[in-house]
Amino acid sequence: MDFTIIAETNGDSLHPTTYQLIGAAASMGSNSTVICPNGVGASEAAKINGVEKVISANGDCFNIFDGGAWASAMSSMCGEMILISASPNGREIGARIAAQKDIPIIQDVVSMSEGITVSRPIYSGKAMESLTISGSAVITLRPNAFEAAGTGNDAPINVVDQSADVKIAIQEAINKASERLDVTEADIIISGGRGMGTIENFSHLEEIADTIGAAVGASRAVVDEWGMPHRMQVGQTGKTVTPSLYIAVGISGAIQHLAGMRSSKYILAINKDPDAPIFGVADYGIVASWEDAIPALKSSLSELQS
């Protein structure tokens, strides 16, 4: 099977996902051709094990993200099986290439085996589906679901000039500090309870929230007694939330609080009381005071983000 990978980039270098795309192809016993849009990360890609050749695709069309233009600039260089990151841009390029070549696209794949058989979450993870592909296809892979390939290779780099019709023009960059999300719309929520000691200490949770794009929530005690805004309250009389990750800090887990967050996909509880009921619903529990755990959590998460 002949795999083409469209590199996911991050500024001037490759995004870690690119290593995973190459690792995934390698796990299928295949070397891959890596296309680097605008040449970004081409020399880095040449060093990754399992890469047969790197195509540095250069051209003005890559100066702005237009999925249609990018796809038509790269589509002709793609082989039978095309792997792309399931990032927003990756999904868009993938869908474009698939439509252009009239081949199927399978998005957000989390495992891949001989056949080719792939599986992917559907209904926001409430179910999984397994599909078998015969023939050519575009597959986008979920970041962090595949083993990354190592380095030490020295693959050749072909520089190719491409052009495509760009239909999108940037009129204005709007730089704004992204607003913190509301608890009902965030994919990650970090909530504090009475164990936070004072309302001022919520600034530590806010910092973490801003690092990972999370919303900040609160238990009823904190809303009622410390005057936290009611819209932040999670629980029976507050909001019912179902994020992918709910981080409960200094929240004991009264039944009224659990009613609002127990359907979260994953729950991380941090509490110094090892018998706190919150540990009964937590997937991951850390018995520690927030003063000890939160700084460590912050540095660990910011490391991941960088």
């Binding site: 629980g235 029976q236 009389t237 909001k239 039944i255 009224q256 659990l258 009613a259």
Partner: protein
């Protein structure tokens, strides 16, 4: 979170598509705007003005009335609306009942063409709130003996007397007031700025706290001659309004009952005692099963009555039965739900105590439970038991 109602016999599948769309519209609004704010409204003792605006925008006020910019829905749809509103709170449903059945309806049925054109469009849009003055401090179940009276002064009427327990009184633009003119009960439209009229709010309620309840006081209240409703004389006027409102209550109470059932079920499933959810114990299951049974019967009763209202094939006794039964079971369901919630049931974290306290009023207003029993007793025996005189 999309609300999934208990509907054991799929009674809602009998609704028309239009009725289901109206149901979903009101249901979503109640979930998004009412339930998150109801406890604060109760604590502050106010009916949020945004709710008046939203009800007008959705176009559900005066639901079954046709023409004059009124919605023109079926009586079944009106019932469904009441049920969805009362799942939020009985005070909210009371607002809609009074506006539609007690204030708009008499103008629509008994008013002059000028009165209809003048009042109904603005009442349907929610711009003007109406109220209904029948009950007096000393005449509740016995409205025929009311003492509020109107005098014909040639170029105007003069009203004297007082009404009590008037939902929406202090926030109303107009009141439909029943008073005796030369000994005969007639309907009058009183506007809030009419001289000699005042509507002080009654405070200190432990029930329907998110609803405004008032007195209406008339001291030589002067109103123009064109404010009398020309189309009706006697108790038939207020009673036909009450028939419609009571019909809505028979659906509304099911909304309260469902809210209590939902909360009790969720609580029983998540409350662990003796290492197991209390829902796994037989006594609790018995209670939940009984709730489901009564709600299902109530739903069938309400739906069938709705069909009769829509076909016109009904008598007031049909409505008495449904109002009496459904409020009665809703109140008992609230009490049993409180029991399942244990001590937590008294907290405002759960809707239980609020619905329970509300339903105590609902049991009494618009014909008390006992009066409805007497209406049915009279229907069975042909003997009225309201008074000592034969």
């Amino acid at each position: 979170m999309a609300y999934e109602a208990l509907d054991f016999y799929d009674v809602d599948s009998l609704l028309t598509e239009e009725e289901r769309m109206v149901r979903d519209m009101v249901r979503d609004w109640v979930d998004e705007e009412v339930i998150p704010n109801i406890e604060i409204a109760c604590r502050e003792g106010v009916f949020p003005d945004e709710w008046r605006v939203a009800l007008g925008e959705m176009g559900v006020l005066g639901a079954p009335l046709k023409g004059y910019d009124c919605p023109g829905l079926s009586y079944t749809a009106y019932g469904v609306i009441c049920r969805e509103l009362e799942r939020g709170d009985s005070g909210l449903r009371s607002f809609a009942s009074v506006q539609g059945s007690l204030a708009m309806y008499p103008i629509w049925d008994f008013g002059s063409e000028e009165q209809k054109n003048h009042y109904l469009p603005k009442m349907a849009s929610g711009e003007w709130i109406g109220c209904f003055g029948l009950t007096e401090p000393d005449y509740g179940s016995n409205p025929g003996d009311m003492i509020t009276k109107a005098e014909d002064m040639g170029d105007h009427y003069l009203l004297n007397g007082a009404k009590m327990w008037i939902t929406n009184g202090s926030i109303a633009e107009l009141a439909v007031v029943w008073a005796k003119l030369d000994g005969v009960i007639r309907g009058f439209i009183v506007e809030k700025n009419d001289p000699g009229f005042s509507a002080p709010e009654m405070k200190g309620k432990h029930s329907l706290k998110a609803s405004v309840t008032s007195e209406l006081v008339f001291q030589d209240c002067k109103i123009p001659k064109d404010r009398m409703l020309p189309g009706v004389k006697g108790l038939r006027g207020p009673f036909s309004c009450l028939n419609n409102a009571r019909y809505g209550i028979s659906w509304g109470a099911l909304g309260s009952a469902q809210a209590c059932f939902d909360s009790a079920k969720d609580y029983a499933m998540s409350r662990i005692q003796f290492d197991h959810p209390i829902a796994s114990y037989q006594l609790v299951q018995n209670k939940l099963s009984w709730m489901l049974r009564e709600i299902t019967k109530g739903q069938l009763l309400a739906y069938h009555l709705g069909q009769k209202k829509d076909s016109g094939d009904w008598i007031p006794e049909h409505i008495s039965l449904a109002k009496m039964n459904n409020v009665d079971i809703a109140l008992e369901i609230a009490r049993v739900a409180r029991d399942i919630h244990g001590a937590n049931g008294i907290l405002d974290e759960y809707p239980i105590m609020r619905h329970m306290a509300n339903l105590e009023s609902v049991k009494t207003y618009e014909g008390t439970h006992d009066i409805h029993n007497l209406i049915i007793g009279r229907h069975i025996t042909g003997i009225q038991a309201f008074t000592r005189e034969a």
